[in-house]
């Protein structure tokens, strides 16, 4: 690196970035501060909580199904992520590595479905979910996400770069085709798999439109739906400290996970963006 230490331009840029950091992190700070305020602090505005009041948190755990929503979100996101890793990589591998008739056509069809907005599928999904009584069930929450076109596309791109030689070598050694995919091809595309896992998990953890439609009872709600329903259908006006307690309990663990896996997550998202 060049030894150009403290230029004026650099100081100005740093000041600009620090102002940006204040703007970006302020909502988080405000969320945490508000979660420990008492109701009175919201009626007459006070910047700092007058006293630490944990009644919001107490309410969340005692009067709502918050822990269940957490569990539901976790189940949905984990199952969908796992399914995408398996199926997208299997489809992607087959489409990239087996040069037989029909592969190009299948790939084109899958690719073209990326143009279809989810909103258009939601109405038919809802219709046949009601017919099959999938409404308000885990399967109802999970089935639309099990395979994503983008994941198939991403995996195909990466599987194509796996050298044929090592696959053939495994074949000569008498390895079964399924095992070749699982043991030889999959480890070759680890960065792509972790990228796919991260974006799928994140997307499903945050999903709102489909879960809000397909769930009825409080017990089946996912975290975003639970928070939104608590906020909007609460008759006695918005209980800000409770909602901010819910938001904090949702956001803070995400921030911690992000800080632990920051390098993998940042690189994974950049990877899926640049190759996509």
């Amino acid at each position: 690196m060049k030894a150009k230490n403290f230029s004026v331009a650099k100081i100005i840029i740093n000041i600009f970035l620090l102002i940006g950091i204040v703007a970006v992190s302020f909502p988080f700070v405000w969320m945490i501060l508000s979660s420990v305020k008492s109701t009175a602090d919201f009626y007459s505005f006070s910047f700092w909580p007058q006293s630490l009041d944990f009644s919001g948190y107490k309410f969340v755990f005692e009067k709502t199904d918050f822990t269940r929503w957490y569990l539901n979100s976790f189940i949905v996101a984990i199952v969908v992520t796992f399914s995408n890793i398996i199926f997208c990589s299997l489809i992607g591998y087959t489409l990239a590595k087996f040069r037989v008739t029909g592969m190009k056509l299948i790939f084109l069809i899958i690719l073209s479905t990326m143009m279809i907005p989810t909103e258009m599928l939601i109405i038919p999904w809802y219709v046949f979910s009601s017919d099959f009584q999938w409404v308000d069930s885990y399967w109802g929450l999970i089935f639309p996400g099990l395979m994503e076109a983008f994941g198939i596309f991403l995996m195909r791109q990466f599987m194509a770069s796996v050298p044929d030689d090592i696959l053939d070598a495994a074949r000569i050694d008498g390895m079964g085709e399924f095992k070749i995919w699982l043991r030889i091809a999959m480890p070759q595309v680890k960065p792509a798999i972790s990228a796919l896992a991260i974006i799928t998990f994140l997307g499903n953890w945050n999903a709102y439109l489909w879960p809000v439609i397909v769930t009825n009872t409080a017990k089946m709600r996912t975290l975003p739906v639970g928070i939104a329903m608590y906020g909007t259908s609460d008759a006695g006006g918005i209980q800000w400290n409770t909602i901010m307690a819910m938001s904090s309990l949702t956001v803070i663990p995400m921030i911690i996970v992000f800080l632990i896996f920051q390098r993998q997550i940042v690189e994974g998202i950049a990877l899926s963006g640049t190759k996509g």
Binding site: V24, T118, M120, M254
Partner: protein, 308 residues
């Protein structure tokens, strides 16, 4: 004779090998691809069919579309959706680019710290964070009006007034998305070969010239990608609007006075509040066509190859 037989045998063997390969490929694909057809392609066709029928009869009709084009609220939602795109996409990309360039310029140990902090909003739950912003905007308990009072400026209605609500929602989306743009611009900047900058320096180019003649054209793939992704995502905006408007503070989703209603919010209201699924399907077909047109236009206008 023997030679010919050998050749035939090889041909036969490769044929059977090819057949075996095809068999393996199809057996790998059959279940997942059929499932994919069932959850993606069949429903898409079904949505089209539904939009041309009504809940009372399955005969072909244009009724839903006729109702749609005569509904002022629908056109309002289309106008709003386009407004969201025009406000959000350029700004989130501009801020993303400025952040990427600024952080690149700072260099050193601070680089990673800045990147992580600016990326944080993208990582957090949209619903949870929308409620945090709703509190920030709240006219009575919110901090933004309190700051305005301290600065002796007139207070705002923010989400409560039709003239400021759409912009207030856009701010939340930009706040959350600019970190994503920053990340991809950073990745784009890193693949530009250093030699170009060195050559520009030798030629005596100014920083401004270097940016417009080297950095900007070479970022073209990133710009195209972010523009397309940004427009498509913004056309589908729903979660932020649903959580920042409606509910106990009065009015339905997309308020006040439909000033923040997007096409998807309109679809949700018609389909899942009024339970007019066939009519809602027609609005999603409209959304599909909108996305298709925008994607095609963008591919055409942005895909000019820049020369160095």
């Amino acid at each position: 004779m023997a030679k010919l037989k050998g050749k035939e045998m090889i041909k036969k063997r490769t044929l059977s090998l090819q057949k075996r390969k095809a068999l393996i490929a199809y057996s790998f694909l059959i279940i997942p691809v059929l499932f994919y057809l069932a959850i993606r392609i069949v429903p898409a066709l079904q949505a089209f069919l539904m939009s041309f029928t009504t809940s009372s009869s399955s005969a072909f009709t244009l009724e839903n579309y006729q109702k749609l084009i005569h509904d002022e609220v629908f056109w309002k939602s289309v106008k709003n959706t386009l407004l969201y795109v025009v406000i959000i996409v350029p700004l989130q990309m501009l801020f993303g680019l400025l952040l990427a360039l600024a952080i690149e310029r700072v260099g050193g140990k601070l680089k990673w710290f800045y990147r992580v902090v600016f990326f944080l909003p993208y990582m957090t739950s949209i619903v949870a964070i929308s409620w945090v912003w709703r509190l920030l905007y709240d006219p009575n308990s919110g901090v933004l009006n309190e700051i305005l009072v301290k600065l002796n400026l007139p207070t705002q209605e923010w989400l409560g007034s039709p003239s400021t609500a759409l912009i207030s929602i856009s701010v939340v989306i930009i706040w959350q998305m600019m970190g994503f743009c920053m990340l991809l611009f950073t990745a784009g900047l890193q693949v530009i070969p250093r030699q170009y900058y060195e050559a520009a320096k030798i030629d005596g180019a100014t920083k401004w010239q270097t940016f417009w003649n080297i950095t900007f054209p070479l970022l073209n793939p990133t710009i195209v990608f972010l523009a397309i992704i940004g427009v498509i995502q913004t056309l589908q905006t729903f979660t932020q609007i649903a959580n920042l408007t409606g509910g106990s503070s009065g009015g339905g989703l997309g308020g006040p006075l439909n000033s923040t209603m997007s096409v998807v919010v309109y679809m949700y209201n018609e389909g899942f509040r009024e339970y007019n699924l066939h009519y809602a399907a027609a609005s999603t077909v409209f959304l599909f066509i909108l996305i298709l047109i925008v994607t095609l236009i963008q591919f055409r206008t942005f895909n000019k190859s820049y020369k160095l």
